[in-house]
């Protein structure tokens, strides 16, 4: 299966949905019934305090083997994502920009991405080696990365900011349908943040569903969410529109926590 081109007409209506997701790590529950629905064309932001389960959610969406799913479902354009291996999820058009991208010594960015693109884009959209390189150079230039990056081993000796740009470069090359940014903004200075945000927003549109996981409101000034969710203790404690960002900024997570204790979380917007 799964060499099906990402980002083309979805069979199931273009929805990425998480339903009642429960996850534990080494027997300890981290997610306690998460519900979230992202349609193509929408941008969602997920915020929450440290330890609320944000990164766990990101990893589970791609199928990290260390996380045990004990209940619920994840569907992507009608496919049961939890039944698939990480590479199959990627080939369906799900992309995770890692919080801590790993280095792969000796494997150049070009070689790595050519292998990835060949695996993900399918026959119809596969590029020849020269067309691929031309596009890679173009995308690197767009993200203000030096061309020499292309021939450097992936993430080896890269600074924090360079690694984050590399994640966005990969996203742009792989043309996914659903993107999860896992704290892509943390550790970036303002210029780098703007460049990264530009790299992402240049791809948003009716074909892309985006989930921005972040600690800080700052990135949401550059990537404007349609919906904001607040994750606390492994549950979506509150969901709302963009106005919720301001409220959160003013009142903090304790306000959400206190409100959550009084009333059960609303259904996502």
């Amino acid at each position: 299966m799964t060499n099906e081109a990402a980002n083309t007409g979805p069979a199931g209506g273009g929805i990425f949905s998480i339903e009642g997701l429960r996850v534990q790590v080494e027997g300890k529950p981290i997610l306690n019934g998460v519900d979230l629905e992202i349609r193509r064309g929408e941008t969602h932001a997920l915020m929450g305090p440290n330890g609320s389960g944000k990164s766990t959610l990101a990893n589970v969406i791609l199928g990290h083997p260390d996380y045990e799913v004990t209940g619920g479902a994840i569907r992507c354009d009608g496919h049961d994502l939890l039944a698939l291996a990480p590479e199959e999820r990627a080939r369906l058009g799900v992309f995770l920009a890692f919080q801590y991208p790993v280095a792969v010594p000796g494997v150049t960015v070009a070689r790595f991405l050519k292998t990835a693109c060949d695996a993900v884009l399918g026959e119809a959209r596969r590029l020849s080696a020269s067309a691929f390189l031309a596009r890679l150079r173009e995308e690197a230039a767009f993200l203000e990365m030096d061309e020499s990056f292309i021939h450097r081993p992936l993430n080896e000796g890269f600074s924090g900011g360079e690694k984050k740009r590399m994640e966005i470069l990969q996203m742009r090359m792989l043309r996914p349908a659903y993107v999860v940014l896992d704290e892509t903004d943390s550790g970036l200075d303002i210029d780098a943040l703007k460049t990264v945000a530009r790299g992402v927003t240049g791809r948003t549109g009716p074909d892309l569903g985006l989930l921005v996981i972040t600690h800080y409101e700052r990135i949401l000034r550059y990537i404007r969410p349609d919906h904001l969710h607040i994750l606390i203790d492994g549950r979506i404690a509150r969901s709302g529109g963009p106005e919720l960002v301001r409220e959160l900024e003013d009142r903090g997570y304790d306000w959400v926590r206190a409100a959550g204790a009084r009333a059960p979380a609303e259904a996502p917007a």
């Binding site: 790993v102 990835a116 695996a119």
Partner: protein, 477 residues
């Protein structure tokens, strides 16, 4: 999620394990002075060469088999081995190659008929104890390059052979070198005259075929002043239940400003998952940088053999001479490799580089053993060593034994060593980009070996990457 380990059931099938049915002229098993005289007589050798053999044999008899390497294997019964086996010539003229032998080399991807010769490469094909063909001879002759079987060199260029044979690896050098010097049956000879850049890659392909037979070939390469040559060797053998012994000697000589690049892809049969069968590979390879500014570079990709015992080295005598050693050693299942290099710095300002990449999977054992020595005259000599080990699974082991000796105060030595595993995080990251687990692992391993593969001539590098990929397929359980 599959574990990163080798399951004995999944060891990759060895693709070169077929047997060629040929009529063979073979000696009965056993080793004695009479056997050595018979080999020499069969080849119509001059007396000086017989003397060389007999001296070596006597040295061998006085010596115990060495056991300092980190290798476990049952005692080798040297009387149970055949020391000579050759396919009988066929056809009307009596001199033609058996078509089965020709087909064998075709099947191995090494065409030996001139009509199919590989572009840019001259091949000497050695089948069991004899060289059966050497291609591209005409073009080489035009440049004055001699490239032929060892036996032919003894007949046609006796002065050259006599002058250099044993000057790099003396017949008394070590147990296996002595054995080889006593019984060697064929091999390749190459002479590049002064100022000539050899116009082709030279290559020898070694094939063991006959059962119960050892292969003892000898290679001698001489690059005169300002000459340069790139030489490749490849090796395979059938799958057999019993172990087969391969004890080769390679000698390289580089005079002033000469350059020799010697590359090996060793893919002898490694035995099965339980360690039955496989080639015992005990090889002595050494180069002498006799001339000023000369250089010798060894590149080896060792992916076969049940036992590998091999330390290609350089003796850097000429001032400003350069020695290099680039190695990838992959072991799987029950394979054991104890391999590395010796860099002996004698001349001033001599330089050497060592890059060793060991990959162990299954229940294999992979050892780097290296020596860097600086003699009293090696002023301002330098060495840089990088030894990295990659472990796949938790039943294998990797060891590093670097030795440095210096008799001079102005030498510079840098040594770096790392041991790592393919991490779950690396695999997950790559899988999240759509790359399947096996391909991801293979990319990681190729990345690990990149520095070494880059040293190989282009076609060989492609082959080496493919070969390692096939070998890697076995390393998932």
């Amino acid at each position: 999620m599959k574990r990163l380990d080798t399951d004995s059931r999944l060891v990759e099938p060895y693709r070169f394990g077929f047997v060629t049915e040929v009529e063979t002229d073979a000696f009965p098993p056993g080793l004695s002075e009479d056997v050595i005289r018979a080999i020499s007589a069969r080849k119509g050798e001059p007396d000086w060469l017989l003397d060389f053999r007999l001296k070596a044999f006597r040295a061998w008899q006085r010596r115990p088999e060495p056991h300092w390497a980190l290798l476990d294997y049952p005692a080798i019964d040297y009387q149970a081995i055949r020391y000579y086996a050759a396919p009988r010539p066929r056809g009307a003229g009596g001199g033609a190659i058996d078509p089965e032998v020709e087909r064998t080399f075709e099947r191995l991807g090494v065409p030996i008929a001139e009509r199919n010769a590989l572009a840019g490469v001259a091949v000497d094909a050695v089948f069991d104890s004899v060289s059966v063909a050497t291609t591209q001879r005409k073009l080489l002759q035009e440049h004055g390059v001699i490239f032929c079987s060892f036996s032919e060199a003894v007949r046609e260029h006796p002065d050259l052979v006599r002058r250099w044979l044993g000057t790099v690896v003396p017949p008394t050098d070590n147990f296996f070198a002595s054995l080889n010097s006593a019984v060697f049956s064929d091999g390749s000879f190459c002479y590049v005259p002064r100022g000539v850049r050899c116009p082709l890659e030279l290559s020898t392909y070694f094939r063991i075929n006959a059962a119960g037979t050892g292969q003892f070939e000898r290679t001698l390469i001489i690059a005169e002043e300002g000459a340069s040559v790139s030489y490749l060797e490849g090796c395979t053998a059938p799958m057999r239940e019993e172990h087969q012994l391969h004890a080769a000697v390679v000698e390289l000589v580089a005079l002033d400003d000469a350059r020799i690049k010697y590359s090996t892809v060793q893919n002898w049969y490694p035995g099965d998952a339980e360690g039955r069968g496989g080639v015992y590979n005990f090889v002595t390879k050494r180069g002498r940088c006799l001339g000023a500014r000369s250089s010798i570079s060894w590149t080896q990709v060792e992916v076969g053999s049940a036992i590998t015992w091999k330390y290609p080295g350089c003796v850097l005598e000429g001032p400003d001479s350069v020695g290099e050693f680039y190695s990838v050693a992959f072991t799987n299942a029950r394979m054991q490799a104890d391999t590395g290099t010796k860099m002996i710095h004698l001349g001033p300002r001599t330089r050497s580089t060592i890059v060793s990449k060991g990959i162990s999977a299954g229940a294999s054992r992979n050892t780097y053993r290296g020596m860097v020595r600086f003699g009293p005259a090696a002023r301002q000599a330098r060495n840089h060593s990088q030894c990295d080990s990659l472990l796949i699974g938790d039943r294998c082991s990797a060891n590093t034994f670097p030795v440095v000796e210096s008799a001079v105060g102005t030498a510079t030595i840098e040594h770096e060593a790392t041991t790592s595993r393919i991490s779950e995080d690396q695999l997950f990251y790559m899988r999240c980009r759509g790359i399947g687990e096996e391909e991801a692992r293979s990319l990681i391993v190729n990345g690990f070996c990149r520095e070494v593969f880059r040293q190989l001539p282009m076609e060989f590098a492609v082959e080496a990457v493919k070969l390692l990929e096939i070998k890697m397929e076995g390393s998932i359980g």
